[in-house]
């Protein structure tokens, strides 16, 4: 057996179990947070020092390679930020503090396995592990909104899983295997229409995971009803993992022959165009910050799907460095934004955007962090978001998707309106009270790191891009 390759995952699973057991002995929140943080840190260290060569583990169920290496590290980083940001939410969650953290780690386990999947079955299991954990996490507040969001997510998620399984059945039926490498071997040089049907059904299931139109309905409700750290987790974690698993499965299994990649590539490109446009139009009318960020997240799903479409059109057989750069930049921006939003909404006890008025007088640091994050989401130069968009646009043109790039560019302009509206309100608006917001240490630290990261990647994107492209191109 080759257990050593999934040591980081094992540590996460063990930490989750330890948290539940430790909770029986001591119910101090500090203990739980400390175990979760230690587990994630240990896992992160081992993930970083593990090598990045391709390795097929458990009879091809998992592929450990550059793509899974780099996404694993990103997801661990996101989870660390979520655990730290959750400390600002401790009073609302104190009755389920240990369960909450255990589920965060189980979701993380699922998400870490997603991009490493080497087989449709393991991909499905990883996705389900993550989604089911999220169903519970979203309903954790036990308020009517929270429960409704959880139920909605579970129902649509259940349907999506069914569709995904149906698609997998078709793929198995027409290729005789569920292993990604075997499917690719079988479908070359010719493929059947059953395979294409299976791919499209599978795609529909995946679209649920990342919240692309028309499978996005659950997303705004879930974002609004969930505890805000979980909203951040859904956005910066689950979405990233979803894109990563799509990139993995589709690039490995469905890019030969060229015509096959081209067929689903176009489908993804169309979904991408609809997703970003619709998301933007609805985002314009939002008054609740979490709903607005939900729609903004949908728009960014659209942008990331450009990268997936480019994989299909270009018949790449591995993940894409530029796509990863986008995922990392998006995760950084979401962490910066949501951390600030968590602190602010806890202080204001309100999610309405108009209550953010005059925030610059209440806390210049939070204003700076939130603005940096929003500007990066908007794609202003000197932020990571600009470079990410630039790279994703170049890969669109590179793969003959000029029309998609033009739609994306226009959408960027539309999105500027609602991002700038928030910044304007925070800068110009009258504060509702004179009191200052106290910034707790852990969220403050995350704000600082993510803000600096956004600027650093905006000025010197090559630091990350070069690293990623080197790792992904390894054998």
């Amino acid at each position: 057996m080759n257990w050593q390759f999934i040591l980081p995952e094992i540590i996460i699973a063990a930490s989750a179990v330890i948290i539940i057991i430790a909770d029986l002995i001591s119910r101090k929140p500090v203990v739980t947070t400390a175990i979760a943080m230690t587990g994630i840190t240990a896992s992160l260290i081992i993930a970083c020092i593990s090598d990045t060569f391709f390795e097929s583990v458990f009879e091809g169920m998992l592929f450990i390679d550059g793509w899974s290496w780099i996404t694993r590290i990103l997801l661990l980083g996101v989870s660390a930020a979520v655990v730290a940001a959750s400390t600002a939410y401790s009073d609302k969650l104190k009755n389920h503090w240990a369960e909450y953290h255990a589920l965060v780690l189980f979701a993380l386990l699922g998400m870490m396995l997603m991009p490493a999947a080497g087989n449709l079955i393991s991909a499905f299991l990883a996705i389900e592990l993550a989604t089911i954990s999220f169903f519970i996490l979203v309903g954790m507040l036990k308020t009517p909104e929270s429960s409704e969001a959880s139920l909605k997510m579970m129902l649509t998620g259940g349907v999506a899983s069914a569709i995904m399984l149906y698609g997998m059945a078709f793929i198995f039926g027409s290729s005789g295997s569920t292993g990604l490498a075997e499917i690719a071997l079988h479908s070359s040089p010719a493929f059947s229409s059953g395979l294409l049907l299976g791919i499209l059904l599978l795609l529909a299931g995946f679209m649920f995971e990342v919240g692309a139109v028309p499978f996005h309905m659950w997303l705004p409700d879930a974002y609004e009803g969930a505890p805000t750290p979980i909203t951040m987790y859904l956005s910066a974690g689950s979405k990233i993992a979803g894109i990563a698993v799509i990139a993995r499965v589709f690039s490995m299994a469905f890019t030969t022959p060229a015509q096959l990649g081209h067929d689903w590539g176009i489908a993804v490109a169309v979904i991408s165009a609809i997703t970003m446009t619709l998301g933007n139009v609805i985002a314009l009318q939002q008054t609740n910050i979490k709903r607005l960020l939900a729609y903004s997240g949908i728009v960014h799903t659209g942008y990331m799907l450009i990268g997936i479409a480019a994989i299909g059109m270009g018949n790449q057989v591995s993940g894409d460095g530029k796509l990863f750069f986008y995922m990392a930049a998006f995760a950084l921006a979401e962490i910066a934004v949501f951390t600030a939003v968590i602190v602010i909404t806890r202080y204001l006890n309100s999610d309405r955007i108009e209550d953010f008025s005059g925030l610059v007088h209440k806390s210049p640091v939070l204003f700076a962090a939130l603005s940096t994050g929003l500007l990066s989401l908007m794609g202003l130069p000197l932020t990571a978001g600009f470079m990410a968009k630039l790279f994703i646009f170049t890969s669109a043109i590179d793969n003959g998707l000029l029309w998609l790039m033009i739609i994306a560019v226009i959408n960027t302009v539309i999105s500027a309106y609602y991002y700038i509206r928030i910044i304007r309100l925070m800068w110009l608006g009258k504060p509702c009270s004179e009191s200052k917001i106290k910034l707790p240490a852990a969220p403050g630290f995350i704000s600082l790191i993510s803000g600096l990261g956004i600027i650093l990647l905006g000025i010197a994107p090559y630091l990350l891009l070069k690293l990623v492209e080197n790792i992904i191109s390894l054998p």
């Binding site: 470079m387 630039l390 960027t412 302009v413 700038i420 509206r421 800068w427 110009l428």
Partner: protein, 491 residues
């Protein structure tokens, strides 16, 4: 780090230092801002003096690797036109700080944004890499947005947002154009693009498409009819300093971009579309001039006159000959000084009287003879009276358009002559109503301009007259760049 990079980033450094300084009141803040703009001005003057006019080309270049994956680099340098624009920007920034001496609402943020704006504009004029150019072009939106929306007047937030949306709309097209250009030629470097044969490289991508995408971005900024509607709002509602920067330096980025990128890289497309842009130019001149006549708000009037004057730039650029290009470039600089001065004077008037409707003033020359006199110099410049820079610029544009080989050029040149008529009408009318005519006794207490105001208005006036009397002062620097470009269409 070379002297040019230092010039570009010094104001930005000043902005950073200002925002970190501990004190709250305005006095030390504006002195710090003044020192930074003054040093930048001194450096720009040095660059202007040190530029080797006989060899031309891009000088003071600085380059460093930036994103090798897409072949983008940090690459700055100056040729004649960019040098003149850099000098103009530094000069106007210095004046804008002096003109904001009385700002005391959140002064630290105000001067920090102003300095950051200067850095961005200097960056646009110096970039020799299209991605870097775009970067500076795009960030400039943020400081200006805050300047207008926070320290402006009237419908300031509406105007600021409108400005941002228009600019982002234009730059979205520009980015698409830049990326397509990159995929055609495989580089963002402007000097490399100059020496490449785009028509040969283009393959499937139509060059005309790239040309038009880029041009939309520049046309919004210049602004060219029908993309001009953001300008009156933004200029009118901006604080004086932002109006000076906006009208003086910022909209010049549009003309500069057309010169540097659209004409320089796409000579045959420029020739193909020249009649269209000549027509748009003359619409700018005549339509802009006609609307200006109807304005009742002093700042709005100056703003609309800018639209008319920018028409001359377009006309000169698309004459595609040496006289026209010289005229266009001169107009960029001359209009920067003239409109800067008009806005500065209008700012003083509005600050002292709390009034901006032209009809409410009257007979102010009695109390403020010096301001009236200086204002008159700027107004003469705007009318294109001989011995002012406006005259030199506009006459070159006319000469260029008359002799242009472009179809429709001659009738257009004749129609555009009415621009001078319009300018005389609205400027004289405004002078008459504000400084002469029936006296408004409500303003009897007014004092003439202070020593600071004398100083900076005097500097602007001498600039206008200096170029008017001795244009070689500027054309000497411009000549190598323009001659080189004009050769693309046979001189």
């Amino acid at each position: 780090m070379g002297i040019l990079s230092l010039t570009i980033f010094l104001p930005g450094l000043g902005a950073l230092i200002l925002s970190l300084l501990p004190f709250k009141n305005a006095r030390p803040v504006r002195w710090v801002a003044l020192v930074f703009t003054l040093i930048t001005l001194a450096l720009s003057c040095y660059l202007f003096a040190a530029y080797d006019r006989s060899s031309g080309g891009f000088q003071f270049t600085d380059s460093a690797q930036w994103i090798p994956a897409i072949n983008a680099s940090y690459h700055v340098g100056l040729d004649g036109l960019s040098l003149a624009m850099v000098a103009l920007t530094s000069f106007l920034s210095f004046i804008a700080v002096l003109a904001s001496w009385s700002v005391d609402h959140r002064p630290k943020a105000f001067f920090a944004w102003l300095l950051l704006l200067q850095s961005c504009i200097l960056g646009v004029f110096s970039s020799l890499d299209l991605l870097l150019f775009f970067l500076f072009w795009e960030i400039e939106v943020i400081p200006l947005y805050f300047l207008i929306s926070t320290w402006g007047s009237g419908r300031k937030e509406y105007s600021a947002t409108k400005y941002v949306i228009y600019t982002l709309f234009g730059s979205a097209f520009m980015l698409a154009g830049i990326l397509m250009l990159y995929f055609t030629a495989g580089t963002f470097s402007i000097p490399e693009l100059y020496s490449a044969d785009l028509a040969l490289l283009a393959g499937g991508i139509p060059l005309a498409g790239i040309f038009l995408l880029l041009l939309v971005g520049f046309a919004v900024k210049l602004p060219v009819f029908p993309f001009h509607t953001w300008l009156p709002d933004a200029h009118t509602d901006a604080p004086t300093a932002a109006s000076i920067m906006l009208a003086g330096a910022l909209i010049k980025m549009g003309g500069y971009g057309i010169f540097r990128i659209c004409l320089g890289l796409f000579p045959s497309e420029a020739e193909r579309f020249a009649p269209l842009f000549l027509v748009l130019g003359v619409i700018n001149i005549v339509y802009g001039g006609a609307i200006t006549l109807k304005q009742t708000d002093i700042k709005r009037l100056i703003a609309y006159s800018s639209i008319s004057h920018m028409g001359f730039v377009l006309l000169g650029l698309f004459s595609l000959n040496e006289a026209g290009l010289t005229g266009a470039c001169l107009q960029l600089i001359s209009h920067g000084l003239i409109t800067g001065m008009l806005f500065a004077s209008a700012g003083i008037l509005i600050h002292n009287t709390n009034e901006r409707q032209i009809s409410k003033f009257g007979g102010l020359a009695r109390q403020m003879p010096l301001l009236a006199g200086l204002f008159f110099i700027a107004a003469m410049g705007a009318m294109g009276v001989p011995s002012t820079s406006g005259f030199v610029a506009e006459i070159s544009v006319y000469l260029g358009t008359f002799s242009a080989g472009v179809p429709l050029a001659k009738p257009i040149a004749i129609i555009s002559l009415t621009g001078i008529l319009f300018a005389a009408a609205y400027m004289l009318n405004m002078m008459l109503k504000v400084f002469f005519g029936p006296v408004n006794h409500g303003f009897n207490h007014l004092k003439d301009i202070s020593i600071t105001e004398k100083f900076y208005l005097g500097m602007l006036a001498s600039g206008i007259l200096a170029i008017g009397l001795y244009p070689h002062f500027i054309t000497g620097v411009l000549k190598p760049a323009i001659t080189g470009l004009a050769l693309l269409w046979g001189g």
